[in-house]
């Protein structure tokens, strides 16, 4: 089993993702530079957080056209697993691999703090290691993380159980007080139609060791890798 962590100019969570996969989970992991064109041989591709290409124009707008993204598309078409975290989520939305878009936080502030998430779907390959409605704690660090999509898309996400995580209170209640960026329907993470591509604004790779505050994010990587191991 092999994992790839994509590195763009301006990525800054690549080392965290690499650490989580290799050091916490013992997975053979490689950095993949954005100019690479082939991801064959990898099972899981992580698109990490950061400010790819300086976030010029829109977050993820330039990264979307980098050579490696054609390889990510091909990897997803082959049924390979793709996880987009923070800037990675923005890139996947820009490239159309995931629906919707991420815009400026409602409060205009860059939000950097631990948040609570309710696990809404425990059937997906990424979240099957969690309990239904389990509340987990994972940090966020973004200025443009307000998830938006049109009404038909939102309906479809709900009906197809493709909302993976919602922002919530420590007790698991949904309220705007606990929605850190104003995301529609408290959405923190979504899944594609086929179920092999996910994106989320919170940083599970920063929550893979109790010594760092939380290990709740580890289960996400373990779930995906566990499916691969069989």
């Amino acid at each position: 089993m092999r994992a790839a962590v994509v590195v763009f100019p301006g990525s800054n969570c690549d080392a965290d993702a690499f650490y989580a996969l290799r050091d916490e989970l013992g997975v053979q992991t490689d950095y993949i530079w954005h100019a690479e064109t082939d991801l064959r041989g990898y099972d899981l591709v992580v698109i990490p957080g950061g400010f790819s290409y300086g976030d010029y124009l829109r977050c993820g707008a330039i990264a979307r056209f980098s050579p490696v993204m054609r390889a990510v598309q091909a990897h997803a078409d082959r049924g390979g697993f793709v996880m987009g975290i923070c800037n990675g989520f923005q890139i996947l939305c820009e490239s159309g691999l995931l629906p919707g878009a991420l815009v400026r936080n409602e409060g205009m502030k860059f939000a950097c703090k631990p948040v609570y998430l309710r696990v809404e779907n425990t059937q997906s390959v990424f979240t099957r290691g969690y309990q239904p409605q389990q509340v987990i704690q994972i940090p966020i660090a973004h200025g443009e993380g307000r998830y938006v999509c049109d009404e038909p898309t939102l309906q479809q996400l709900r009906e197809e159980n493709r909302i993976l995580f919602r922002y919530c209170s420590p007790e698991g209640d949904l309220s705007e007080d606990w929605n850190p960026n104003g995301s529609v329907d408290f959405i923190a993470g979504v899944l594609n139609e086929r179920g092999n591509v996910m994106g989320m604004m919170p940083h599970p790779e920063r929550a893979c060791n109790r010594g760092l505050g939380s290990a709740d994010g580890c289960r996400l990587f373990e779930s995906a890798l566990g499916v691969l191991v069989g």
């Binding site: 707008a61 820009e94 815009v103 049109d150 104003g182």
Partner: protein, 79 residues
């Protein structure tokens, strides 16, 4: 040299967090007539006079300059 002027704006249904802050700022400066502010992007693109420039600029907007999920665009091409 032909030039395209491209205007990209957030869709009207979408909350413009930046615009709301600017609205508050203008009102606090005493501009009581301000009822709303929306922030967009303005781009100038210099072009060589080859081919169907309107079609090219339209394609640039759809492909890269605007995200159709959240933004509208319009443009002018000056000869």
């Amino acid at each position: 040299m032909p030039k395209a002027k491209v205007y990209v704006t957030l869709k009207p249904t979408l909350l413009d967090a930046q615009g709301r802050v600017l609205q508050d700022a203008l009102q606090s400066l005493g501009y009581e007539t301000v009822q709303g502010v929306r922030v967009g992007k303005y781009l100038e693109i210099e072009l060589s006079p080859n081919g169907d420039l309107h079609a090219q600029v339209e394609e640039m907007c759809r492909k890269l300059l605007a995200n159709p999920v959240i933004e509208n665009f319009r443009y002018e091409v000056e000869p």
